[in-house]
């Protein structure tokens, strides 16, 4: 899921911790903010630290005029090295920047059955990944390289390399084959339940030392932090990558449930909407009783008007939009096929 989704859902969880929302209001405390901070922390650690400190065997730059055979050969070479030397190998493929806001796209296909790496040079896209018209090569430019061992790519057999930073791969020997791990620096220790628990303990100790009380409010801060981080970890399990849940007791990332992609709009927005609804309800729940003008919100009506109806409408809208776009794809597909044949 997107960073904001993790952030807001962890904040919502923080408001659900017994006593936390009241504590925030009564003590002008930022305890709820801590939930959001630890909800986004795993990605912050990965994308602002681990990504740059990870040790690579090669950082490959295809240059401005890329040769697909060269790119395929580099990937194949490191797969072979991992197999021959029985060690994990890490490769990073750079993107191809061709203008201030323009990038040459290329695709890397891992063909497990034919033990082959195929690279295809694509058209130019802008930073919003919108293709520049007429920028695709007139004839398909494809390069191939053979690999001498079996390999398995669990995430996706096609990797599209286009904007900003390129992808990283970990080639890990396993069961007489190579396991290809996509962005291996991501969702390791930082995305483990154990790390969440550790953060909670550390925060508990700090709060206890500051307040000179070992139980309250230390446990509450610890719960906000731990559940905030765990929310992120558990949400990530819905995707493809999964994470290393019990580092250091487990060494590898578990596979996700493959239910969604991190960038999918509907699940992200749904989570944000439900989180905001939960935060609002919890704020209402702890509204100071001393106020003169009391308000009353009917719980069932709130559920109906804020959760059931909007979520239902959104899901119906998404279904219609998806059907419409798949119908349009059907209309356009024959033309694309004709163009390919003509080439």
């Amino acid at each position: 899921m997107k960073g904001f989704t993790h952030f807001i859902s962890a904040t919502a969880i923080a408001t659900c911790i017994p006593g936390a929302a009241e504590y925030a209001v009564n003590n002008t405390s930022y305890i709820i903010v801590l939930g959001g901070v630890f909800g986004i922390l795993p990605d912050t650690l990965d994308f602002k630290l681990n990504r740059f400190t990870h040790k690579y065997d090669e950082l490959y730059d295809p240059g401005e005029n890329p040769d697909p055979n060269d790119i395929a050969a580099v990937v194949a070479k490191w797969l072979d090295v991992a197999y021959a030397e029985k060690r994990s190998v890490f490769l990073h493929l750079h993107t191809i920047k061709v203008g201030a806001d323009l990038w040459r796209e290329y695709l890397v296909r891992f063909k497990e059955d034919s033990r082959e790496i195929e690279v295809e040079i694509g058209g130019i896209v802008n930073t919003g990944k919108v293709p520049v018209p007429n920028s695709a090569p007139e004839v398909r430019i494809i390069g191939r390289a053979k690999v001498s061992c079996d390999f398995k790519q669990n995430y996706s057999t096609v990797t599209t390399v286009n904007i900003f930073s390129g992808p990283s791969f970990g080639f890990v020997p396993k069961n007489n084959a190579i396991d290809i791990q996509f962005i291996p620096w991501h969702r390791g220790w930082s995305h483990s339940l154990t790390f969440g628990a550790l953060c909670g303990i550390v925060v508990w100790v700090i709060v206890a030392l500051c307040t000179k009380n070992w139980l309250y409010p230390g446990w509450m801060f610890a719960a906000v932090v731990t559940f905030g981080l765990w929310t992120h970890v558990l949400e990530d399990q819905l995707g493809h990558l999964g994470s290393n849940l019990f580092y250091p007791f487990t060494k590898e990332r578990s596979e996700g449930f493959h239910l969604m992609h991190a960038n999918d709009a509907i699940p992200n927005f749904l989570t944000v909407w439900l989180s905001v609804a939960a935060i609002f309800w919890n704020m209402y729940r702890v509204l100071p009783q001393s106020d003169n003008t009391q308000i009353h919100i009917n719980g069932l009506r709130y559920l109906l008007y804020v959760v059931i109806i909007p979520v239902g409408l959104l899901l119906i809208g998404a279904f219609i939009a998806k059907k419409k776009s798949s119908d349009q794809e059907e209309i356009h597909r024959p033309e694309e096929q004709e163009e390919e044949v003509a080439m």
Partner: protein
């Protein structure tokens, strides 16, 4: 009754037509001009002519709606970036450099019109919902503002860090832009803290913050244009815009949520609201982003002013509502629906006017050197600041410009400059303001 309706209609149209002038000039904020009209109105109301809120309020609404839509013109056409900064500028500027400036204004106009429709659709529910929302959220605003600040810092992506001989070199390269973002936020916050404790003018709160805003956001942009000597390419006028219903729906819905969030919460601006909503809806399409910014800006300014008219809600968000609250108290639903009508009339009129003004501006920038246009814009900004706040304001604007240049030079997110309001207000609300002000020697 028909006379009243005619009066409201004509006042709205007049306000919208006046907004053409202020909307198309860089750095000319609607609140500055509204101040002049309010002073004039106050003077007239004491004379034999008396006061007529059914002229003033629709006029003001026309002014705000028109400005929120027409201000797209200087945003798109007077902010051409140079090559090096193309990755961190708004998509509207990218469109301008691709000769698609008109398309960018059209997309923004679609977003703004979508915002008007959403506001009209939401208007029957607001009188019931807003008083409750205000009561529930009120005691929690301090931590919600801090939540926004924290998210702005933590969500900034590193730019660079891919090419480096060592891991440390890559890490340092990546953290260059991240550190610049944090520095910008802190310095802006520091400036805001000083500004709130030691205002340069106490007459109107907006005039106090205006030089800082122009310095943080407007001047660096124009200086960049002047230094880089950017040439704007030939602009094209497409027969239709390149987007479909889903992109419009996504942009408008994200923009509405963000804009309304900003309109409801103090200090949060439409830009921040739009940014948060864009992240919430996993937006990556530039067209959708431009549409959402158009919606967000309109809903932020117009929605904030509209909330002022919700009877018994007592919501004064935005400079205009704050200025008018001493002169007018909305009492009935009729007052509320009067301004809703004004929003509809003005929104439709400004939508049409945006196309006309975009064409006129494109004609203008092809006739004169873009660098001269930028110099004229800079002089205009300096003139506005000097005219309203004199030398103190100019000094403040200069300091703010220094801070505003950091994200441009070091390629970080420019929205960090919003720390100027977010940080001091969030800390004040949490009760830490006096201690920090004492530490800074301000009290």
């Amino acid at each position: 009754m028909p006379f009243l309706m005619l009066k409201v209609f004509l006042s709205t149209v007049a306000g919208t037509l006046v907004s053409i002038v202020i909307g198309c000039l860089p750095a000319m904020h609607v609140y500055n001009v509204a101040t002049l009209f309010i002073v004039f109105y106050a003077a007239v109301s004491k004379s034999v002519l008396g006061s007529d809120p059914y002229v003033m309020m629709p006029f003001m609404m026309g002014l705000v709606v028109g400005w929120a839509i027409l201000n797209t013109v200087p945003t798109v056409f007077l902010g051409a970036p140079d090559e090096s900064s193309m990755l961190m500028v708004f998509p509207t500027q990218k469109y301008l450099m691709q000769g698609r400036g008109y398309e960018a204004t059209a997309l923004t106009a679609v977003g703004a019109l979508g915002g008007v429709i959403c506001l009209l659709a939401a208007s029957p529910f607001l009188p019931k919902i807003m008083p409750i929302a205000r009561r529930v959220v009120g005691p929690n605003i301090f931590w919600i503002l801090m939540l926004i600040i924290v998210y702005m810092v933590m969500s900034e992506f590193p730019k660079g860090g891919d090419h480096g001989d060592t891991r440390l070199a890559r890490l340092l390269d990546a953290w260059k832009s991240l550190s610049a973002g944090i520095l910008t936020l802190l310095l802006s916050g520091w400036l805001g803290f000083i500004l709130i404790r030691k205002p340069i003018t106490t007459e109107y709160a907006f005039s106090n913050i205006m030089p800082a805003f122009i310095g943080l956001f407007g001047v660096p942009w124009v200086i960049q244009n002047i230094i880089s000597g950017t040439e704007v390419p030939k602009q094209y006028f497409p027969k239709s815009i390149d987007c479909n219903g889903f992109i419009i729906f996504r942009g408008v819905s994200a923009g509405f949520l963000g804009g309304f969030f900003a309109a409801f919460f103090p200090i949060v601006t439409g830009g921040i609201g739009g940014l948060l909503a864009g992240h919430a809806t996993a937006q990556s399409d530039e067209r959708s982003f431009i549409i959402s910014q158009g919606t967000s800006k309109l809903v932020y300014y117009v929605g904030a002013f509209m909330l002022f008219f919700v009877p018994m809600a007592h919501i004064t968000r935005g400079g205009l509502a704050n200025m008018l609250q001493t002169m007018f108290v909305p009492r009935t639903m009729a007052d509320y629906y009067m301004v809703i009508g004004a929003v509809a009339i003005s929104g439709a009129l400004a939508f049409v006017l945006l196309g006309v003004m975009s064409r006129a501006t494109i004609w203008l920038i092809t006739k004169i050197d873009y660098r001269y246009a930028s110099i004229a814009a800079l002089l205009f900004m300096v003139g506005i600041v000097f005219g309203i706040t004199r030398f103190q304001g100019l000094l403040l604007m200069t300091v703010a410009t220094g801070i505003g240049m950091i994200p441009i030079v070091l390629h970080s997110r420019r929205s960090n400059c919003m720390g100027v309001l977010l940080i001091p207000v969030a800390l004040d609300m949490a009760g830490y303001g006096p201690a920090i002000a004492k530490f800074m020697g301000l009290i």
